[in-house]
């Protein structure tokens, strides 16, 4: 039986206000270690909200997120931050690299924030990561000196720097051209193949077929799950219900 890396139990995210709004509506989910899960769905369906909850960027209104066996609903904000720092790596649609720092410094950021490694070891790992993503020659360049694809690869290197169990990516190819998209998705696939858990939100059904499992979200609920051979066809779903 596979080991569960990430689990959601009765996950609900509601925004209270003059008009209440439910972004995630009772999702149960278990992602195995080394599994590559793609989350698809129309705009406003709640897929990014689900991802932020799974990555502890947001707190659920109800339910529980269990990361590597550790329940997180009762953790303080600082403890949640520590779990994010050590167990989750984030990649967003935009690279979100710190503009004043070089590629290498951006990659070193999570390691330096954790402060467990020596500077020498951190530098070695940072260069190693950039090298593995074909960016060794760009280590000393600032984000504005890199192409979109290169920036996103630096962001992936940053996400991997603390050796997290889980990589959470929110439309990582949304702002990239076709070749960069292929490259980034290929990297994420490789990361999963190396034993890390990858959860990706994407609008691109073709890319989603490269995942081990695809969850199709509609109105904050998992409408359909596709695995194995069933990944390929695009599900017939209702028109987008923008929220």
């Amino acid at each position: 039986m596979s080991e569960i890396a990430l689990q959601a139990v009765g996950l609900v995210r509601r925004i209270e206000g003059a008009v209440s709004h439910t972004l995630v509506n009772g999702i149960d989910l278990a992602v195995n270690k080394g599994e590559f899960v793609a989350i698809t769905g129309p705009s406003g369906s709640g897929k990014s909200s689900l991802l932020y909850l799974l990555g502890l960027l947001d707190a659920p209104t109800d339910g529980e997120v269990i990361i590597c066996g550790q329940p997180t609903s009762k953790l303080s904000e600082d403890d949640r931050a520590h779990v994010r720092l050590t167990k989750c790596g984030f990649v967003f649609q935009f690279h979100f690299l710190l503009p004043e720092f070089t590629s290498l410094e951006n990659v070193l950021l999570p390691m330096r924030a954790e402060g467990k490694m020596s500077e020498k070891d951190m530098l070695a790992r940072g260069l190693d990561l950039l090298g593995s993503l074909g960016l060794k020659d760009h280590a000393q360049k600032r984000p504005n000196q890199l192409s979109g694809g290169q920036r996103q690869r630096v962001a992936i290197a940053r996400a991997l720097s603390n050796r997290p169990e889980i990589i959470v990516a929110d439309e990582p190819t949304g702002a990239l051209d076709t070749s960069s998209t292929e490259q980034v998705f290929g990297i994420l696939r490789e990361i999963a193949d190396q034993g890390r858990t990858v959860v990706v939100v994407t609008h691109d059904p073709a890319l989603a077929t490269r995942a081990d499992r695809r969850l199709h979200i509609v109105d904050g609920k998992i409408a359909q799950t596709f695995e194995g051979q069933k990944l390929a066809p695009e599900p017939a779903v209702a028109a987008p219900t923008d929220q």
Binding site: S48, Y52, L57, D58, E77, D78, A81, H82, V83, R84, L85, T86, C88, F90, F92, Q93, F94, F96, L98, P99, E100, F101, L109, P110, R112, A113, E114, G115, R158, D170, E171, G174
Partner: protein, 413 residues
């Protein structure tokens, strides 16, 4: 959380915004510089005034009176007794056995003591002016006062050159058109009148002294009082005038006569200085606080510009307090460099002011502006400024780091 990382980010932020950083530093530097200048000017003028005051008068004056009425023998003998209309025996005025008392005081006093006779009289030279006549021993007086250095014409020793010789203040001399060598008439309260020769003119710098005080020998003053051999005042000069209060209490405890320190004699003036100090401190505090608004503006701007970075740092797992401390460190960096620049500006301003002289219409001389240089001014101004800067940064930093990262990430996407 590795501290180096936070310092590194803070340093990067301030060094990549050179113009804003320089404006902030200039604000702090001006605040610190002008505060140091103001403190130096105010304390300099105060010290100058006090020095003049202290130089002009004895540090401790022993008077021939007591602070409280003497205890009656009946009070000493009986536990409970009521007396009314008790009249003290009318003792002869003056300090008893002044020579032995002075000898006793000289054995431990960190300074010197000299006898004097203080009385009032009227000086007549065409016009009549009420004055305080102080009889002194010219040989001993030079040890207890700065009279010798205040002489503009003649010398203190000249008092012994002519019978009933007097030394008068410059302002009084001008008022009555008296010149050295002139003869004036002194009239005492009891009607005693003597003719005196003016043998010298002094200028202390204090108008009330220069216009209302004259010096004669002990003998002349005793004649004016009609009390031969009387000494009604012992004048003490200390090596350190600041301990006058303590010494006065000890002297009074030892010899029983009322001993007044220069601080007690000028307590009203000193309390007005305390009020002035409070006002000056308030103004300086306001200046430093105002200068910290520049830092507040800069940190507000940086935190606004860096909302996305804040969101990313938080999403990567950096704690809110760590992210907040980055911006507080930025303010501290601005404050620190501004403070050092402010010290240089403050010193330069103080030095510049000290080169200026102002014409004093009362004394008719060019008086340099007194500046007091004290490391305390630099430490206090710098410390308060640094505190204000970091305090000013705290609120925008706290506001910015409370932002939920998801809101920013969603907004950017």
């Amino acid at each position: 959380m590795a501290g180096n990382l936070l310092v590194n980010i803070a340093w990067t932020h301030v060094t990549t915004r050179v113009r804003q950083t320089l404006v902030g530093m200039a604000g702090v530097a001006m605040g610190v510089g002008f505060t140091i200048m103001m403190a130096g000017l105010m304390e300099g003028s105060q010290i100058d005034f006090l020095r003049q005051l202290v130089d002009t008068m004895p540090h401790v004056t022993v008077q021939d009176e007591r602070r409280a009425a003497p205890v009656q023998p009946a009070d000493r003998e009986y536990g409970a007794v009521q007396m009314s209309n008790v009249a003290n025996v009318n003792n002869r005025p003056g300090i008893r056995h002044p020579e032995s008392m002075m000898a006793s005081l000289r054995s431990w006093l960190p300074g010197d003591v000299a006898p004097s006779v203080r009385t009032t009289a009227i000086i007549d030279h065409g016009g009549r002016v009420g004055i305080t006549l102080i009889g002194i021993d010219p040989r001993l007086e030079v040890r207890v006062s700065k009279l010798a250095s205040q002489m503009r014409e003649g010398q203190v020793g000249d008092l012994q050159r002519a019978p009933n010789a007097v030394i008068i203040g410059l302002a009084l001399a001008d008022k009555l058109a008296i010149k050295t060598g002139d003869t004036v008439s002194l009239v005492a309260g009891q009607g005693t009148q003597v003719s005196s020769t003016v043998v010298g003119v002094f200028r202390s710098g204090l108008k009330r002294v220069d216009e209302g005080q004259i010096y004669a020998t002990l003998g002349t003053a005793q004649v004016m009082m009609g009390q031969s051999g009387i000494i009604n005042e012992l004048r003490v000069r200390l090596n350190n005038p600041l301990i006058a209060d303590t010494i006065a209490k000890r002297v009074e405890g030892q010899i029983g006569y009322k001993s007044v320190s220069w601080q007690e004699a000028n307590s009203d003036l000193l309390s007005s200085f305390a009020v002035r100090d409070f006002i000056v401190l308030t103004v300086m505090g306001a200046m430093l606080l105002t200068s910290s608004f520049a830092t507040y503006n800069i940190i507000s701007t940086i935190t606004n510009e860096k909302r996305q970075d804040i969101a990313i740092m938080k999403s990567l797992g950096m704690r809110e307090t760590s992210v907040r401390s980055i911006f507080i460190m930025e303010a501290a960096m601005i404050g620190l460099v501004g403070m050092i620049a402010g010290w240089a500006i403050g010193y330069a301003l103080c030095f510049g002011w000290s080169q200026i002289t102002i014409y004093n219409t009362l004394t008719g001389t060019n008086v340099p502006i007194s500046i007091y240089y004290s490391p305390l001014h630099y430490i206090v101004a710098g410390g308060i400024s640094l505190l204000c800067c970091t305090g000013a940064a705290f609120f925008p930093a706290r506001k910015a780091t409370r932002v939920h990262p998801v809101e920013i990430i969603r907004g950017a996407s």
